[in-house]
Amino acid sequence: MLFFSFFKTLVDHEITVELKNEVCIRGTLKSVDQYLNIKLDNAEATDELRWPHLCSTRDMFIRGSVVRYVHLPSSAVDTALLEDATRREAEAAKGKAK
């Protein structure tokens, strides 16, 4: 849930999603769900010459399993908080494993 929780805070921020098929899409994150499926608005391929078929698509829904990387705006990330959140997640996972 950490990533879900994290990505929820990035809603309405511009992110770049790198897919496993090398396609790179930049857009405004509209929503994300538990499977980290991503909905983008104002989406555009970062290299429109390479993926011209994406030119006409402005709204995208990206299945979470095809995402390789998400480039984040660093200003929108609270690293200290993220560290704590990670600790909590780890602790919770440890608690469950026992």
Binding site: L2, S5, K8, T9, D33, Q34, D78, L81, R87, R88
Partner: protein, 853 residues
């Protein structure tokens, strides 16, 4: 007229195209109408043109279905294509249904001819799409012309001639090729011609209002373009279900008999003729009906009235329940299924109807070849079967109210929640653990969400947001949406229920080797399920360095966990107790305090600050090790907010004592030759940003004796040459000295012995620092990051004696001169900044860079 009296007109000349759906060259009425040819021609003018409207493109299967010319030549069973085809008639039929369903516009076609044939009496009203047929007037027909229709019906069975004549009277050309559709349409036309006036006059105007719903549907569906469609046949098809037919494929005569009673008996005894055939349905309806004095008008209303009552609500549901089949025609068929059992006369419940239908039908059937009949009857039976089925399904329509459905929806939602929810994770604390980042981030960044530091129930409310983000965004602005509130409460209750009912996340089937793990929306199934080795890291003990590092990291994590527990615990702080508080509140408060104490103690242990100091040890003190990691540095500030004054002094002392062992000091000694590495510089900056501020805050409130103690420790226990050449060390010294200077200048005069002690320490410090003065500056003169040095020099200069000031100036004279020279070559802004730094020191000793210029 030919010589022999044969009709020489070709079929195509008789107004009905041979291409039209129907029976090709075989005209069922041709032989019958031979003698009255002239009359038939007159009918052309009044012919309603139904034949022309039929969809010409839809007759591909006509010959197959109805036999067509081929099968009528009596060739024998070898060529019984129709018989073969009839076996798949149902499929063809369904295909047609589908085809029609996909072409909604075609359904509108039939209504046009009504409007376009003004000559046709009784149909004028159909120009108005809002027009409602005189359903009730139908009974008047029976009442007004009972003898005629009865006679016609009876005669038609015996001899066809009178029937034909009645047709001619009403204006249908007898010798045309006629499809069943046409015949029926003709009958309908006849019926309306018969009784237009009584209809208009007798039908009470207010009763029209009751029938708007059914009619618009019937108009289009009543006449599908293809003759095989159930629309036209619906009346007698629909009679079937309620008739006690044990076998579905009855002989022809039997079927005719079954259908016949509906009509002819009616005029004499309307009530009795209806009731025996469908007692159950009628009883139901009759309860709803007001008693009517006239038996005839009662019989009029009996059938049409329930239709508006029942149909409107049931139609959409029917569609919902049978979305796949009969998507387009499910609706009309369902409609027909209702009136069918209810009213034995098809015409009644269907508005403009087919009084001659039952009479004509046997004629029509007889006109067909045997194969055709079989095919038709088989198809007919199938339709009846299906209609019966639909009726069976639809009779419960409308049982559930919208409220019921809402209720079911909530139950389903509840199940969904309990399925997706994890066990015992629904408490607010668990909630925050689960969605910590988002919750806290939102509260920090001011997202329009409740912040997590509010009472517990608000956590539960935010729960809805997780399952439905649409609500989340609008939660706070949401008005009193009662339904949504109830949903929300329901979800909360569901959450409670889910908590009470633990569910396993894995299922191990006995005897199987694997586990089945359930996934849900909150915990997608993990792809890897690794077992941690229990004794994994015990083997690495010999690698002391790695172990140290690991231990330190583990210590830091322990500190953080304790910190978070403390912070979580702080949030659950019970309301402050007063004298009048109830004992439970006091009890809760006491428990909370005890817990806080425990956590506090644990934190104190976790930071390892009380570990004995071993000067001989090669490894640094555990607390100092913690400070060598970035996250350890970051923890200090949070630790400070949870420990008391005494403990803070301890921490400060600890840091000061080990000042030269701190990684940010030991590895960060500046030299003019090689600048510090980037990592070290970042570490130093981090230390200055995270550790120094709480230290500074603490020191700047400390009394002189603490300052004296700290400075004494620095001088005694640390290597001042290292400390003084680092940014961190120098900053700390600056803090100490400047605090002492402030205390010296502030009004409350302190113990002179303390001052003596301080002056002694200061002198020692001065003596130690003086040799390194030339090298305390980082890098060369072009390095701009030297402000902290000037600050240190300034604070030293303030407290220095004149003689010491002179020595200070001598020590840093070169740097001062260089800086002034360099700054002349710099842009005004940078030069100003650098000179201002130098001036910090110069002013402290009563000088100014201006004097040097």
């Amino acid at each position: 007229m030919s010589f022999f009296g044969f009709d020489t007109n070709l079929p195509r000349d008789k107004g009905h195209s041979t291409n039209a759906p129907g029976f090709g060259h075989h005209d069922a009425f041709a032989g019958l109408g031979g003698g009255v040819d002239g009359d038939a021609i007159d009918f052309e003018e009044t012919y309603d043109g139904l034949g022309e409207q039929l969809d010409e493109t839809n007759d591909a299967f006509n010959d197959d279905t109805f036999g067509g010319p081929t099968s009528q030549q009596g060739v024998g069973k070898d060529f019984d294509f129709a018989g073969e085809t009839s076996k798949i008639a149902g499929t063809i039929h369904e295909e047609q249904m589908l085809f029609q369903a996909r072409q909604p516009p075609s359904q509108q076609k039939p209504s046009i001819p009504y409007a376009s044939k003004p000559a046709r009496t009784g149909y004028e009203s159909y120009n108005n799409p809002e027009y409602i047929p005189q359903l009730e007037a139908r009974a008047d027909i029976w009442g007004l012309k009972p003898k005629q229709s009865t006679a016609a019906a009876k005669q038609s069975e015996i001899e066809p001639e009178p029937l034909l004549q009645s047709h001619q009277l009403t204006g249908v050309p007898a010798r045309k090729m006629m499809s069943l559709d046409e015949v029926e349409a003709m009958m309908r036309g006849q019926s309306f011609q018969d009784a237009p006036v009584p209809m208009m006059s007798q039908a009470p105007p207010q009763s029209y209002g009751q029938q708007p719903a059914p009619f618009p549907h019937q108009m289009p569906h009543g006449q599908p373009p293809y003759p095989g469609m159930p629309g036209q046949f619906a009346p007698h098809i629909l009679q079937r279900p309620q008739q006690p037919h044990p076998q579905q494929g009855p002989p022809r005569q039997q079927q005719i008999h079954a259908e016949l009673p509906a009509q002819p008996i009616h005029p004499q005894q309307p009530q009795q003729s209806q009731q025996p055939q469908h007692p159950a349905m009628l009883q139901r309806q009759r309860q709803q009906q007001p008693p009517v004095s006239q038996p005839q008008s009662q019989s009029q209303r009996q059938t049409p009235q329930p239709a508006p009552h029942q149909r409107p609500p049931s139609q959409p549901r029917q569609i919902l329940q049978n979305p796949n089949r009969l998507s387009g025609h499910g609706q009309p068929m369902m409609q027909q299924a209702h009136p069918g059992p209810r009213g034995s006369f098809p015409g009644h419940s269907r508005g403009p109807s087919f009084p001659g239908m039952v009479i004509t039908h046997p004629e029509q059937l007889m006109a067909l070849s045997k194969e055709e009949r079989e095919a038709y009857l088989e198809e007919d039976a199938k339709r009846a079967k299906r209609n019966h089925k639909i009726f069976e399904l639809s009779k419960d329509n409308g049982l559930m109210t919208p409220q019921d459905k809402n209720f079911i929806t909530r139950i389903q939602l509840q199940q969904l929640m309990s399925a997706t929810g994890n066990l015992d994770e629904k408490s607010p604390e668990a909630q925050i653990a689960e969605d910590f980042y988002y919750q806290v981030f939102s509260s920090i960044r001011g997202a329009p969400r409740q912040n997590p530091h509010q009472p517990a129930n608000q956590f539960a409310q935010t729960y809805l947001f997780q399952t439905n983000s649409r609500f989340g965004a609008r939660r706070q602005g949401r008005g009193g949406d009662n339904h949504m509130q109830r949903m929300e409460q329901q979800v909360q209750r569901a959450v409670e229920a889910a908590k009470a009912k633990p569910k396993g996340k894995q299922l191990v089937i006995e005897g199987s080797l694997g586990k089945i793990s359930f996934s849900n929306s909150k915990t997608p199934r993990p792809l890897l399920n690794l077992k941690r080795p229990e004794t994994g890291d015990k083997l690495k003990q010999n690698k002391s360095l790695v172990a140290d590092r690991k231990d330190t990291l583990r210590n830091i994590e322990a500190v953080y966990m304790t910190l978070m527990h403390l912070e979580d615990h702080d949030r659950t702080r019970p309301p402050a107790i007063a004298d009048g508080s109830p004992p439970e509140a006091i009890q809760a408060h006491m428990e909370w305090r005890t817990k806080t104490e425990d956590l506090h103690k644990k934190l104190w242990q976790d930071i390892k600050i009380m570990e004995p100091i071993n000067p001989q040890s090669t490894t640094p003190h555990p607390f100092i090790s913690i400070l060598s990691f970035a996250k350890g540095k970051k923890a200090i500030q949070r630790i400070f907010s949870h420990i008391d004054e005494q403990e803070r002094i301890t921490v400060v002392t600890m840091i000061v004592v080990h000042l030269d062992q701190l990684s940010v000091v030991a590895h960060a000694v500046t030299s003019q030759d090689e600048p510090l590495s980037l990592t070290i510089r970042e570490e130093v900056e981090l230390f200055l940003a995270t550790v120094i501020p709480p230290l500074f805050a603490h020191i700047s409130e400390s009394p002189l004796n603490i300052i004296i103690g700290l400075l004494g420790l620095v001088l005694d226990r640390t290597n001042m040459h290292i400390v003084a050449r680092t940014k961190v060390g120098m900053s700390l010294l600056t803090i100490l000295i400047s605090r002492a200077e402030l205390l010296k200048q502030s009004p409350p005069k302190l113990d002179p012995s303390d001052w003596e002690h301080w002056t002694e320490l200061y002198n020692r410090l001065f003596d130690v620092v003086e040799p390194v003065l030339p090298v305390i500056f980082p890098g060369n003169v072009n390095d701009t990051d030297d402000m902290y040095v000037w600050q240190f020099l300034a604070s030293m200069g303030v407290g220095a004696s004149p003689e010491q000031q002179q020595r200070l100036v001598l020590g840093v004279k070169d740097r001062v001169m260089e800086t002034v020279t360099v700054s002349k070559a710099l842009p005004a802004e940078m030069a100003g900044a650098r000179l201002a730094n130098v001036n910090l020191f110069m002013r402290a000793i009563g000088l100014d860079v201006e004097l040097l210029g």
